[in-house]
């Protein structure tokens, strides 16, 4: 066992990324200490909609998403806890007034197949017979059978506990106030005066990352935004896949999934105000109402249900909505994994796996060229 203040790797941030990185680093025999401001999995990882979907992501992100897929499938065995992962498929649909999106489904399916993601294109009667809850405005769909959904409230904490059982030191209620590299070691100071040291530092702090990267001379232009999520009362379980309406208009985007317990979780639409420094986010009622307008067009029968709860959280968005992953450009031994822009739940376990591989071996088989933190410097110069 390691002393709590010295380990091979220090992870700052106990979301799904940091917790799974700690877990996979232990699998590689590295000693790890994870510092979390509050409790593991309490922020974006714990309050998101719970989509475990690959389709719809930028093609260059599919290798990472594909790497996550088998991890989700064996998560229960890996963590020793059920995180309510249902591999019930993910259905992406478009409405009649946007036939160009149906055409884009076909192109995407061809290109995704080359990365290993199989998609089934559906239209007309076939689509409606298979998914009878879809509204009359739905034109076409793209179905990913080996995607699904899971309970975000359970996943990151389960990773944290499994990492702890595997020997990682998980320190909750540890707000990092300063980090610097002194000689070969990073020295991280918490607000309550504790000091932690390690030769490797992984910043996995989501919307809170910029304050840390700034201490190493790297800018991370993150904007915190709050998802708008609602959940209905439980009704008999009958909708298996997670369903997403694809549209270029942000206010029209809507998605829903039914959990085994019976409740239907609804997400999408306009995002609400989100204050990282206070760890508070708010759902705006006008956003909830807009979402309920859209979901009834997508699945009219949902109009007969009641919403019993709404919530939001703090998600860190990059300007191009792509994450920052990889080694620092200024400081050796420093690594980044944050800025997943509201789409980091499905990839989360793979991000932990990739970062552990990168830290352990110095390289990773998953291409990360599009994730460099340097891309923002380039823009500043240009």
């Amino acid at each position: 066992m390691t002393r709590p203040d010295a380990s091979d790797v220090l992870v700052v941030g106990g979301g799904i990324v940091g917790a799974s990185a700690a877990f996979f680093l232990r699998q590689r025999g590295r000693t790890v200490t994870l510092l979390e401001t509050g409790l593991v999995g309490q922020q974006a990882s714990g309050v998101n909609y719970g989509n475990v979907r690959r389709q719809g992501r930028p093609l260059k992100q599919l290798p990472l998403a594909n790497r996550a897929s088998p991890i989700w499938r064996r998560l229960k065995a890996l963590l020793g806890e059920d995180v309510e992962y249902l591999e019930a498929g993910h259905l992406r649909v478009c409405h009649r007034d946007r036939p160009e999106i149906a055409a884009s489904f076909e192109r995407y399916a061809q290109e995704a197949r080359e990365t290993g993601l199989e998609l089934e294109l559906l239209g007309g009667r076939a689509l409606r017979e298979r998914f009878p809850f879809l509204g009359p405005d739905v034109l076409a769909g793209s179905f990913s059978a080996r995607d699904g959904h899971a309970n975000p409230r359970l996943v990151a904490p389960a990773f944290g506990r499994a990492a702890g059982r595997a020997g990682a030191t998980i320190v909750e209620n540890a707000f990092v106030s300063a980090a610097e590299k002194i000689g070969e070691d990073f020295q991280v100071l918490t607000r309550d005066g504790r000091v932690f040291r390690a030769p490797v530092l992984l910043i996995a702090a989501g919307a809170w990352a910029p304050a840390l990267t700034a201490q190493f001379g790297e800018a991370a232009p993150i904007t915190p935004r709050g998802p708008t999520i609602s959940v209905t009362e439980p009704v008999p379980y009958s909708i298996a896949p997670s369903v997403t309406l694809s549209t270029p208009i942000e206010s029209e985007v809507v998605y829903f999934r039914q959990v085994k317990r019976g409740n239907i979780v609804i997400g999408g639409g306009m995002r609400g105000p989100s204050y990282a420094e206070d760890r508070r986010a708010y759902v705006l009622p006008q956003n909830t109402l807009g979402q309920l307008r859209q979901v009834q067009r997508l699945a009219p029968a949902l109009g007969r249900l009641h919403v019993i709860r709404t919530w939001s959280g703090i998600e860190g968005y990059m300007p191009d909505e792509l994450p920052v992953m990889g080694a620092s450009r200024t400081t050796s031994g420093l690594f980044h994994a944050f800025g997943f822009s509201g789409a980091g739940f499905q990839t989360g376990p793979a991000v932990g796996d990739v970062m552990a591989e990168l830290i352990d071996t110095g390289a990773t088989t998953t291409p990360l060229d599009y994730c460099s933190i340097g891309r923002f410097d380039v823009k500043a110069v240009a």
């Binding site: 714990g46 904490p157 317990r261 508070r280 009622p285 909830t288 307008r293 009834q296 007969r304 709860r309």
Partner: protein
């Protein structure tokens, strides 16, 4: 790490209209009162007296609130029969309200389901709307405070409040052989009302021992008349020959072959076990304030060790930490219906002061003195009829703690032990306790006690479930579908 409850952020998020009308003239302040019980009616009265026209939004079909709930128009029972010892107060509130009707904007059968951006978001039937305010008085009232008992999820188990509503609004009893269980003045008031209505009572089971009442007498003497009313009620029970026990420990609500309530078993203070056959049980341990709306309005909360619950932080007049948001009545702090009238007036007077209206200072002083009496009396009631915290510690693992989600106390304890979830929202995330359609109204207090005991921390450390809109289930079809 709560943000300041009100400030520039709320202004940024605000949807509120400017302070001028279409022609650029300054307009009268738009004041919204939520709740037309004793606090809301007295607040409206004070605002109307100052020349304002407040909007009074109420969930009920008729004004009056819970304790002074009005019967349907077609019912003809007398005030004395309906309200017993509280008849004159009920009549006064109803008359005051009727006199205000054409000088306020009254919106009955309207639920405020959210408060955000300087607006109340409402639902009337299946129609949603919103309304901007310059100042808001929340008089949301209270619901029964509950302690789960093994078997309380059997059909035929009610709250004391619900059993009373059945009588007042529907003129029916909850069963043919009714057990009333819990503690507090409502237990005896309801027993007397059931007796007067001719509804048979199988037993009245009080979890607090008699010596507590005697010890609390000095404080209860703050209102000799209400104390006397209480004594009259218990005397009626004795004369009617109702089986009444004090200092009991509930053991189980038994189910019959059809799944409904069949009997209640309990232990007396001496430890002997009794079983009372019945077909309905009503239970409650005082009241808990309805605080969700104040939470959504971003008011700060404080832990009240005396009543072992979180309440909205407020000054003596009901000013909260949120700009121009006031709380009054049992929704602020459980002091009873008479105190709610005083608190409603006080909150309105404070609001008028804050808006630079002339206010009679001596009236404020008189109200403060009245309120001080009720605060002392309520402290006596709390001591005489204590919240049965030891019952939470001793609660059977099999007792369902969260009725909405069917989660047993044993499951909550296991998760607290296995995961270290010692904070209310964390335990909710892992177990679903408090995640159902009641939003924690039924389970949050007892759940927090179970968590505190299982984790070995203080109740204040467990925290409170954050309020989440909608405060009651919101029908999706209240919104027009997109085209």
């Amino acid at each position: 790490m709560e943000p300041p409850a009100s400030g520039p952020r709320e202004a940024r998020e605000s949807q509120g209209a400017p302070d001028e009308d279409d022609r650029g003239a300054p307009r009268a302040p738009r004041i919204v009162i939520v709740g037309a019980g004793p606090a809301g009616v007295r607040a409206a009265e004070a605002l109307v007296a100052a020349g304002l026209r407040p909007t009074l939004i109420d969930e009920g079909r008729r004004a009056g609130g819970q304790i002074y709930r009005r019967q349907p128009e077609t019912f003809t029972r007398s005030y004395a029969k309906l309200y017993g010892t509280e008849a004159s107060r009920a009549a006064a509130i109803h008359q005051t309200f009727d006199g205000l009707l054409d000088r306020i904007d009254y919106r009955p059968e309207t639920l405020v389901w959210n408060i955000s951006g300087g607006r109340v978001w409402t639902l009337t039937g299946a129609s949603e709307a919103n309304l901007a305010y310059d100042a808001l008085i929340i008089c949301a009232g209270a619901t029964d405070r509950l302690m789960p008992v093994k078997g309380w999820n059997a059909a035929g188990t009610y709250t004391l409040g619900a059993a009373q509503i059945a009588l007042k609004a529907q003129a029916c009893a909850i069963g043919r052989q009714v057990v009333l269980m819990g503690t507090g003045p409502l237990l005896y008031l309801l027993a007397s009302q059931y007796l007067q209505a001719g509804a048979p009572l199988a037993a009245v089971l009080d979890t607090s021992p008699v010596w507590r009442r005697i010890a609390a007498l000095p404080k209860l003497l703050a209102s000799p008349q209400v104390l006397w009313n209480g004594l009259v009620l218990t005397g009626e029970l004795r004369r009617a020959g109702v089986r009444a026990y004090t200092g009991i420990l509930p053991v189980e609500i038994e189910r019959g072959t059809e799944g409904g309530v069949a009997a209640v078993t309990f232990e007396t203070a001496r430890g002997t076990r009794h079983r009372v056959e019945c077909d309905a049980v009503a239970m409650g341990w005082h009241l808990r304030p309805e605080t969700q709306l104040a939470d959504l309005a971003r008011c700060e909360f404080v832990f009240d060790p005396a009543s072992r619950q979180w309440v909205v932080g407020r000054d003596a007049c009901g000013r909260t930490s949120a700009q121009r948001v006031y709380v009054a009545g049992d929704g602020a702090y459980i002091l009873g219906a008479r105190a709610a009238e005083t608190a409603g007036s006080l909150a309105a007077l404070a609001l008028l002061q804050d808006l630079d209206f002339p206010v009679n200072e001596s009236e404020i002083r008189v109200r403060h003195r009245e309120l001080a009496k009720w605060i002392r009396f309520a402290a006596g009631l709390r001591e005489a009829f204590p919240w049965p915290q030891p019952q939470a510690v001793a609660m059977s693992d099999e007792a369902i703690i969260c009725r909405c989600e069917s989660i047993a106390a044993g499951e909550l304890r296991r998760v607290v032990r296995d995961t270290g979830a010692a904070e209310a929202n964390r335990a909710k995330a892992f177990t679903r306790v408090g995640m159902g359609r009641c939003q924690g109204r039924y389970c949050a207090h007892a759940g927090a006690e179970v968590i505190a005991a299982a984790a070995g921390v203080g109740l204040d450390q467990v925290g409170r479930l954050r309020g989440q809109a909608p405060v009651k289930p919101f029908p999706i079809e209240a919104v027009e579908p997109a085209q």
